[in-house]
């Protein structure tokens, strides 16, 4: 009982915080199934005559399945590349070598270039590589992300030195050390990489806009942006689309959150 009493203010604050985080979701979800005119005042808290037809409208308003597939392919490419490349780069940064400070500074300053300012050169470069309007071209700029490199670095740093030395004495090559010793201990970093790179590539809007030409290569954010155009603003379909676009991300996060939230926080204590 004593413990319960001590904890209730904490629960109260956290419940309030969760409420604030969740209410916007509810409001959009509610709008997306509302049967009434969504612009009538006062708005109802519980949707009246709920129906799913806005979702049907969305499905047919754009080639949803095709855009979805494109988004998935680009995201999967990005995730794989991110896990592999970032792990490699992160591992390198745990080692001492000449020029490490420069590389670190370079990585950090790379984060400070707004993408909107790089559109034209990025487009020209992708064009030179012959990758315009292709999945690879869409994913390539996001193949490696600085934050994730640092996440891997932190995770590798936490691997006990003794373990590595033992592996070296056993005569394992660096490749095998990474693959057999470090990666299994860096599960949390992998989960973080998967989630973050998924988020970024799934959300990317400006680059697919510029780098795709054909309808067949468009991704979901482009479909969503098209949806904001004037006519569709009058119905709940826009909000239905929001839900449909957000669902995969939320689902993936909920699936991987055990590794992500718990792993990220408990994994680091071993260091």
């Amino acid at each position: 009982m004593a413990r319960q009493r001590r904890h209730w203010p904490i629960h109260l604050v956290l419940i309030a915080a969760c409420f604030v985080m969740l209410v916007p979701f509810y409001w959009v979800l509610k709008t997306s199934v509302s049967g009434e005119n969504i612009f009538s005042y006062p708005p109802s808290i519980i949707p009246r005559d709920p129906h799913l037809f806005y979702y049907v409208d969305v499905w047919y308003a754009i080639p949803f399945a095709r855009y979805f597939l494109n988004s998935v392919v680009v995201s999967v490419l990005t995730i794989i590349a991110n896990v592999v490349l970032n792990a490699m780069a992160g591992y390198s940064l745990t080692q001492a070598f000449a020029g490490k400070q420069i590389v670190l500074m370079l990585f950090l300053s790379c984060m400070m270039i707004p993408f909107q300012a790089t559109i034209i050169p990025a487009y020209l470069i992708t064009g030179k590589l012959g990758l315009l309007d292709s999945y690879l071209g869409l994913a390539l700029p996001m193949f490696s992300t600085i934050i994730c490199i640092f996440v891997f670095k932190a995770s590798f740093d936490a691997v006990p030195r003794s373990l590595l030395d033992a592996a070296r004495v056993d005569g394992l090559s660096e490749w095998l050390i990474i693959w057999k010793v470090m990666m299994p201990l860096a599960k949390a970093a992998v989960a973080t990489n998967v989630i973050l790179s998924f988020i970024w590539s799934w959300n990317n809007f400006m680059w697919p806009l510029i780098a795709t030409r054909s309808q067949d290569m468009q991704t979901l954010p482009l479909g969503l942006a098209r949806f904001i155009s004037y006519q569709e603003d009058t119905t709940g379909a826009l909000y239905a689309f929001c839900i449909m676009v957000l669902a995969p991300g939320i689902l993936l996060f909920l699936l991987a959150q055990k590794e992500f939230v718990q792993g990220l926080t408990t994994g680091a204590t071993k260091g």
Binding site: F39, L77, Y135, L209, S214, A225
Partner: protein, 416 residues
């Protein structure tokens, strides 16, 4: 798996992923066309393209569609990369800049070769696509501003008919404003608010388009009046702060007496406002019959390898037959005289209100304003509008705002 296999499979996968989608627009008989947020007409376009391909065997057509605000970014990137689409659908005054920069093909010779084609179109709309005496666009679909008014609110305020002068416009607005209710709203993007200035005889630039001409006592007095009416609630503030959704939405909520907007607003307002029917909504010309157009036209990129073929495609898509279909399906006017007649006819019985709205678009086409062929239109707009906005929202003295705007506009004019 050893390293080499990993690398090899990686490369093969990369190759197969990269290859199939990347088709260069090198083929001689390939045309690409970029449209402006009209993907909803996919079925119509596909049909049009099929017909065109049948008439011109061996031609391939690549159709791209981008949303309004994104289209300039896309087109300019393509320009830099040298892969600009052959045919583009451009809205508003954007084309002037591209024409001045040499991105667009001068269509005058094509027009001269084909006087019958030119005659299809309303000459006033046609002439709004002329820059330095050269024709650059063919009208695709057109719209200009008009005055919508809420008949119910007019009746409640004891007003019999829509305003015929600017003074009436303001006084009616004042009469109707009451608590949550306001009298007047206008769209403000592009130059859609300019009819208000033109009604009072105010010009943006001198006739040679070289110097600002708006910094006059009359303009200052007008801005003062607008600011006062806005502060008093006669003019809804959203007129100066909103973009597209906000003003249309506010009017659709039924608490605003008048809305100055173009014909496309009708469908938005109708979608949101359940109160709308011929007894409650009126559509008429703004005082002085002034209006600002927002037209769509087809231009041809100078970089096109097949300009003849591209022009043939434009001709095909704006022909009486296909323009009629567009007018009927999408409820727009095309500036193609015959097509518009047929389009209006089909709307007449089905949606009398839409008929009334569209009818205004064909009247007084000689009194269009706010559509100057300025190569740096966007920059001038950006230089002028914020100061105008400051003045009418009462954030700045009208005189100071106009002086600041004059300085900014002069700077833009001097730069080019």
């Amino acid at each position: 798996m050893d390293r080499r296999t990993v690398l090899k499979t990686g490369l093969t996968v990369a190759g197969t992923l990269a290859m199939p989608a990347y088709l260069r627009a090198q083929s001689n008989k390939k045309l690409s066309i970029l449209t402006w947020n009209i993907a909803d007409q996919e079925a119509l376009f596909k049909e049009e393209f099929e017909e065109f391909k049948k008439a011109n065997p061996g031609v391939e057509i690549e159709w791209l569609d981008k949303k309004g605000p994104d289209l300039p970014a896309f087109y300019q990137t393509q320009l830099v990369a040298g892969t600009a689409p052959d045919v583009i659908d451009i809205q508003g005054a954007l084309w002037v800049e591209w024409a001045a920069n040499g991105a667009l093909l001068d269509l005058t010779p094509y027009f001269q070769n084909d006087p019958a084609f030119v005659k299809l179109f309303n000459p006033d709309y046609m002439s709004s696509f002329v820059y330095e005496k050269k024709n650059y666009l063919v009208p695709f679909y057109v719209a200009k501003t008009l005055l919508y008014y809420n008949k119910t609110m007019f009746k409640e305020a004891g007003l019999a008919a829509p305003p015929r002068t600017f003074d009436e416009l303001l006084s009616f607005s004042q009469t109707m404003s009451n608590g949550e209710k306001t009298g007047f709203l206008t769209l403000n993007f592009d130059w859609l608010y300019w009819p208000l200035m033109k009604m009072n005889g105010i010009e943006l630039l001198t006739p040679d388009n070289k110097k600002p001409a708006f910094n006059t006592p009359a303009a200052a007095a007008l801005l003062d009046r607008l600011a006062k009416s806005t502060a008093a609630g006669a003019i809804n503030k959203i007129a100066w702060t909103g973009r597209w959704v906000e003003p249309n939405g506010a009017f659709a909520s039924g608490t605003v007496g008048m809305l100055q907007a173009h014909s496309a607003s009708y469908f938005f307002v109708k979608g949101q406002g359940r109160w709308i029917n011929p007894d409650t909504l009126g559509a008429t010309q703004a005082p002085g019959d002034w209006s600002t157009p927002t037209n769509h036209g087809f231009g041809i990129s100078k970089s096109s390898k097949n300009p003849e073929l591209a022009f043939a495609l434009v001709k095909h898509m704006t022909s009486v037959k296909l323009a009629t279909r567009l007018a009927q399906i999408r409820r727009v006017l095309t500036a193609n005289t015959e097509a518009d007649k047929a389009g209006l006819e089909s709307v007449k019985s089905d949606d009398p209100l839409a008929y009334a709205v569209l009818q205004t678009q064909l009247e007084h086409t000689d009194k269009m304003t706010g559509n100057w062929p300025l190569a740096n239109d966007a920059q001038i707009k950006e230089a002028f509008w914020p100061e105008f906005q400051n003045a009418v929202l009462g954030r700045k003295e009208a005189k100071t705002a106009l002086a600041d705007a004059e300085r900014a506009v002069t700077r833009v004019l001097r730069r080019s």
